[in-house]
Structures are given as C-alpha cells and as structure tokens.
C-alpha cells in the first residue's frame, strides 16, 4: 500500500519515535518541579524551544507550546479576540480557511464578534487589497493561512502582511502555517506576522504537539487557565517528550525544505501532467504548494474514487481529513466557484519527502486504471 495523504498526517521519523520513547522513559519529571527531575525536564523543554525558535528565526520567548495546530489556531484567534475586544470586535478571515480557524471565528460570532469571511477567486487566492478593504475601525485581527490544506493554494502573505501593517499597524496578523512549513520558504518577520501556528504531525513529528509563535509584546487571553506554564498563555504540564520530538521534526523539515521542495515539485508536475491527460478529471490546483495535487471527478462521488484507488494499492483523501467524514461538498471548493458536483468529487493527493520516483510511477498507473474502471461503469450505467 502506498500512502499519499501527507497533508492529513505523516509517518513520524524513526529518530523522532526513538527520542520520544527514550525521554518518556528517562525524563518523566514535571518541568515545573523544583527538584532535579523537574530541572532536567525543564532543560529539555528549554532546548526544544531554542531549536524551534532557531528554525523559525524568532526568539525562544516567542514560542508557546500547544497540543497541535487546532489549539494554536484557537488560542491565536479566541485569545486575541478576548484580549483585545475593547479595541473592537471585528475579525477578517477567508472563506477557505481550515476548520480550526473557520469554526473558531464562527463561534466568536455567538459572543458578539463580527467576522468577515473574504471570498476567494477561482484560483483560491485572496489579495492584499481585498484584505485591507475589509479592515474597519474596529478590526482587531486578520487570520490567513499560508497553504490551503485541500487545494495547496498559496496565499500572498508577504503582500498582505506588508500592506496590512502599513495601513493598520494595530491590527494583529495571524498565519496558519501548518501546510507551508518545510515545503515553502517561511519568513515570519518579513510577513510581519504577530501569530503563526504549526503542528508537529504534519512534519513527521508526533501527534499532540504544536506551537504558536506569539510576537513579543502581543498579549493573548489564555484559553486554559491554571499554572503559569508557557508564560501564562497556556496552563498545563508540558508534554516534554513529544515537544522534543516536535523540535527535531521542525528542525529537520526546515533544513531540508529546499531539497524537499525540489523533489516534490518534480513529482507534482508529473502527476499534474497525468491528470491533464485524463478528460474525466478536472484539476483544481497543482501549480503552487509542492506537496499537494487536487482534482475533481465531476459526477463521481469522491469516496468511490478513493476506494477504487485503495483497491489498487494507493491511499489518497477527499477534502481535508478534518471534515472528510461529513457528507457535504467541500466548503473550500464551493468558495472557489466549483459547482456541487465538482465540489463533491474532490480528491487530494499529497506527498512526503520519503516518496520515490517509483512510488509516483505506481500512483500514476493506479490513477489511469481507476479512471478507466470507473469510466466503464459509468458507461454501463448509462
């Protein structure tokens, strides 16, 4: 079986697994304890923070460890909203955001916040002009993802960040960086981001670990209250083993980014070329993020395509994993102007750095076979 669902999650690095197990065994101390066990755990935590900060080119004091990107995004959005609600109660985000941003924003509307969900063009992009035009006097936060998790579309973060901060320096800028780091260059300072979310398990790290970059000077209303861990932004005993595992995965992903992108881009181009030769399929992306190819089989339920490919030994996904069990068509594709049929037939193929040329050969062959198989069924049905 070949796994092509790296955008959903990735198999952890073998070294990460060993490290996490080793630390669970040896350094189980609570990093907040006074004694040696605590001090040791605290040293590990500190080093993880330094390693993550170095990979992101920010200060260690700006890293808040969380349980993953869903928590990071919630902390960024709700934390900023609750903290700065006296400045205003308006948030700007995009209609194609990940559920953990989208739903967090929607939830805030129940608390009296107003949210502008910006539309995207047919390519899935939002422009700096659009963002700035949506900002009002009472806007406190703009939240935009780096790479779309379904289609691989890349938002022009540099343009948006620079334009936004030039006109509205007080509006906070949050970036959901989950699908971008390790695949594309990341420039938190250049993008003028105040908040930036990452998740470990998308980078071949362990699940249950993530981080939020909180620019120096930015305050957030903590969502978990309790101890003063993570500078008071996030109470709760830190999960030292998986956080160390995360720092290793982030470091490796950062170091290998250029090489990873080069190889993945080649594969993506091959798969995209193949999809283009199959008239039944409609390409929804494939020119931007190097690790995602997204297409629809209009009229065919995505699930059928997914299972057919699985029978042929290739694992792909429909929509994002976080919402793939819902029966509705993809919100992201609808926002990009797809019709219901297209939006219900979306298939996402996502690569990892350990794929080989041969894996791609198999994938392409399986695609061809699957389409032929389903096509004949279609004809028979007619």
């Amino acid at each position: 079986m070949k796994y092509f669902d790296y955008a959903a999650t990735t198999p952890p690095f073998e070294e990460v697994i060993t490290t996490v197990a080793e630390i669970m065994r040896r350094h189980y101390g609570n990093p907040s304890s006074m004694h040696r066990y605590g001090e040791d755990a605290d040293k590990l935590l500190k080093r993880s923070r330094e390693v993550c900060a170095a990979a992101l080119e920010v200060y260690p004091s700006e890293i808040v460890f969380t349980s993953g990107a869903t928590e990071s995004n919630n902390l960024a959005i709700k934390g900023a909203a609750l903290q700065y609600q006296t400045r205003g109660k308006h948030i700007v985000t995009v209609s194609t955001e990940h559920p953990s941003v989208y739903e967090a924003c929607r939830q805030l509307t129940n608390l009296g916040f107003e949210v502008t969900f910006l539309p995207v063009d047919a390519e899935g992009h939002v422009s700096a002009e659009q963002v700035c035009a949506a900002v009002r006097k009472d806007t406190i936060l703009v939240s935009i993802m780096h790479v779309n998790n379904e289609t691989g579309r890349v938002q022009p973060l540099h343009d948006i960040g620079v334009a936004l901060k030039k006109q509205f320096p007080r509006v906070l800028f949050h970036i959901d960086g989950v699908q971008g780091f390790g695949k594309l260059p990341v420039d938190i300072r250049g993008w003028q981001a105040d908040l930036y979310s990452l998740s470990a398990h998308k980078l071949r790290g362990p699940k249950g670990a993530g981080l939020l970059f909180v620019r120096e000077g930015v305050e957030l209303f903590p969502l978990h209250s309790g101890g003063s861990q993570e500078q008071g932004f996030r109470a709760g005993t830190e999960n030292v083993p998986v956080l160390v595992g995360m720092s290793k995965a982030i470091r490796l992903a950062g170091e290998r980014q250029v090489e990873t992108a080069r190889r993945m881009t080649e594969w993506r181009e091959r798969v995209v070329a193949e999809v283009k030769t199959l008239p039944q399929l409609r390409l929804n992306s494939g020119e931007e993020a190097p690790h995602i190819v997204h297409f629809s089989y209009p009229g065919m339920k995505a699930e059928v395509m997914l299972h057919t490919l699985e029978q042929l030994g290739v694992v792909v996904s429909t929509k994002s994993a976080c919402s793939s069990k819902l029966a509705e068509p993809s919100r992201v594709l609808l926002a990009m102007g797809c019709n219901e049929a297209e939006a219900s037939g979306g298939i996402r193929i996502s690569f990892g750095d350990e794929h080989t040329e041969q894996d791609i050969d198999e994938l392409i062959l399986a695609l061809r076979k699957a389409v032929a198989k389903l096509e004949s069924l279609e004809r028979w049905k007619r």
Partner: protein, 408 residues
C-alpha cells in the same frame, strides 16, 4: 533580495596609527569565529575594510550576527557585477528595484573608479548609471546633497561593487585589544550590562559567578550561564567560572554581624575573583556597581569593599541611572533573562538593615576572627567549575547528562 557580499567598516580605532593592524586582525578573528555556523561564507580583507563573501548564506542573519562585533561601525550588503558598463547598470537598476522607491524619493549615484584603467571616469559613471535609473523609476528625483538613497558604485579590477544600505553596528574597540578582565556576574540586570560595556571598550571578559547550593537553586545557576551565553554571542566564546560560595557565606552568618554580612561577602567575592584573575591572566575586575543603588554600593561601602583587592576595580555603570542600564539590558538581550525570579547568593541572607556606612577596621577584625576564612576561600577557588560557552550553543567543560544533542 540577492546580495553577494557584506562590506564591514571599522570605527574609531582606525585613528590609532601603528596599532591599526593589530586591531584589524582582532576584528577579523572575531568575525571568523562568529561565521562558523555559516560554512559557505568566506572573508576577504582589503585596506581598511573587510568583505564577507556570502556564498549563498542568508545575509540578513549574518548581518544580525555581525552587528554585534565590536569595532565594526557599519555594514553594507553589496551586489557584484562584472567590470563592464552594461552589467553595472543592470545590477544598479536591479538593486534600485529592491529598494522601496515611492513618489518623490531622492537619490544620487556616487561612483568611484578604483581601477583606473576602466574606460569611464567617476564623473562620467555618475551620469551613465544615473540616467537609465531615472528612466526606469519615474518617481525618483535627483538630490546630490541629501539624497534618501545614495547608490554607491566602486569599480575595481576584479569586479564592480554596488550598494546603498548602510546598517549601523555596535562600534567600539575590537574585542580583547585592551586586555582581559574578570566580570563578577550575578543574575541581576546590571552585571551583564557592565560586561557588555567593558567588551565594547575592547576588554576580553571572563565571568565569575558565585552560587550557594542548596540555598540557591540549580536554576539560578543555569540562568547565569544563559546570561553568559548572551555575552558569548558578542564575544564568540566566553569562559565562566562557577564558584561554590556556600561555605564562605555560612561562615559569615555565624559571626552574628547581620548588618555587615553583605560587606563581608562582597569582600570575599572580590578576593576569590582576584585569585581567579591572577590564575587566568586578567588585569582587572569588573562589577555592575552603580553608585547608591543598594547599601553595598554607597561610596563608603565601595571604599571598604574595594580595599579587599589590589586589582583595578572597573565599574562601567557607576554613574548610570537604573533606567539607562535597563535600556541597554533590553537592547543587548539580557533583560528578559535577568528578571527571571530565581534567588541568587546576593539576595540570600540579606539583613533587615544592611549598613550603608561600614567601618573598615571593624570589618577587618571580624574577618580575622573567622579562623579558617582563608582556607574556605582557597577551597572555593579550588573547587570552582569552569565552562567555556560558544556563541550559538555548545558548552565545553560540562558533562551534560540531560541534553543529548541527537535528540533535537
């Protein structure tokens, strides 16, 4: 943005005549040390300047590192072009494109023909390069007196250098060109600033820290090591001597002279630091004293405490306000560490009313009454642990049982 080199300019020491070569060498060595994490980058020295050839390394990060090098006053990122007018113009235009030219931005070209065989004179080049730029960027205006952008072009035999940005660096004297001193480093705000200020004047610094386990925690010690690591970011590497001070300190608590205990402690610290200085070849002690800040820093206290050493006692912050010191601490990146809430040995056993006016004769008499004080002091020196901290992480001289680098 794409740059090929960084141009580093020197500061006041270029006025120093014969010693200039020695100073330049010190800067060069310091730069070399800090460039270790960037293996692609290499150095080229020319008269009065250093160039860092980037070799694909990230220039912004390197600038950040080199801004900390004492003796360097400014840094310019440079683009290179072949010595051919067309290529020079093209590169100059490309550089302008990367600068933010808006309506009314003023500029001038300042060309220098260092290689006299080049066909166009400096004056000619100003025009030859200026006109295509003006054509390309309609919003630009020329101002030869106070331009927003001064585009500099240097034509040399091997290549033409094109640059405009001038980024401020820390200045001062190259590290170590004025000798070596021992810095008494506590976990507070002042002493790291005192250390940095001394380094900026060309002093090489080694740190001495006194800890009182179990009265102070391991974390207090770690915090001071972290502070020293920040200083190592400026020095490339730095030594820290960790002195176990508990025995000496507790000996004073038995004298029943509560209000003098700080005075007594400080004198012993200076004695220990002096012995370490002599061992390491340092010629002075540096402290973070600031006149009047606490009881041990009144003039009268300074007098009694200072007499315990024969080495010159340098107090770079002596006339500064707390606010000025805090500002510098923030700038050099020690402030956030300094305010971490771990007790150090100076805040321990602080009496209710420490004297601001100790009597030297009384102090000496108490010291004489502690039978084995000298032994305790010598023991403290003998059991001192020395670590070498490298800029960017590694710690030599310590058995790190907890951190295994291959975990990260």
């Amino acid at each position: 943005m794409h740059y090929d080199m960084l141009l580093l300019r020197f500061g006041e020491f270029t006025l120093k005549g014969k010693n200039r070569t020695r100073f330049e060498k010190a800067v060069l060595n310091h730069v070399k040390l800090l460039l270790k994490p960037f293996p692609g980058a290499s150095l080229r020295k020319e008269f009065g300047r250093i160039y860092v050839v980037l070799g694909g390394e990230p220039y912004e990060q390197i600038i950040q590192v080199l801004q900390k090098v004492f003796g360097i006053t400014t840094i310019s990122p440079v683009k290179m072009a072949p010595v051919e007018l067309g290529a020079i113009i093209e590169t100059a235009v490309a550089l302008m494109r990367e600068l933010n030219v808006t309506e009314g931005t003023t500029f001038k070209v300042n060309a220098r023909r260092v290689w006299k065989e080049f066909a166009h004179s400096s004056q000619e080049m100003n025009h030859l390069i200026g006109s295509p730029i003006l054509r390309e960027f309609q919003a630009l205006r020329v101002d030869v007196h106070q331009p927003d952008i001064e585009l500099r072009v240097e034509v040399r035999e091997q290549a033409a250098y094109i640059f405009s940005d001038v980024i401020m660096a820390v200045g001062g004297f190259p590290l170590g060109t004025n000798g070596k001193a021992m810095l008494l480093l506590s976990g507070g705000i002042d002493s790291p600033v005192a250390g940095w200020s001394s380094m900026r004047r060309g002093l090489e610094i080694e740190c001495v820290h006194f800890y009182s386990y179990p009265f102070t925690s391991e974390r207090a010690k770690e915090k001071v090591i972290d502070l020293a690591r920040v200083l190592a970011g400026y020095a490339g590497r730095i030594k820290i001597h960790l002195v176990p001070f508990t025995e000496v300190q507790t000996a004073f608590t038995r004298t029943g002279q509560d209000n003098l205990i700080i005075t007594l402690m400080r004198r012993s610290m200076l004695r220990i630091a002096t012995m370490l200085a002599e061992r390491e070849g340092a010629l002075a002690l540096v402290t973070g004293d600031s006149l009047g800040q606490v009881a041990s820093q009144t003039l009268s206290s300074m007098n009694v405490i200072g007499r315990s050493t024969e080495l010159p006692l340098l107090r770079p912050l002596v006339m500064m306000d707390k606010q000025e010191i805090t500002e510098i601490a923030k700038q050099i990146g020690t402030y956030d560490l300094s305010i971490l809430p771990y007790e150090d040995c100076c805040t321990l056993f602080v009496p209710k009313s420490p004297t601001t006016n100790p009597n030297l004769w009384v102090v000496q008499k108490i010291e004489a009454s502690i039978r084995d004080l000298n032994v305790l002091i010598e023991q403290a020196v003998a059991t001192t642990e020395t670590l070498v901290l490298e800029a960017g992480g590694a710690i030599e001289g310590r058995k790190e049982e907890v951190i295994q680098e291959d975990w990260f």
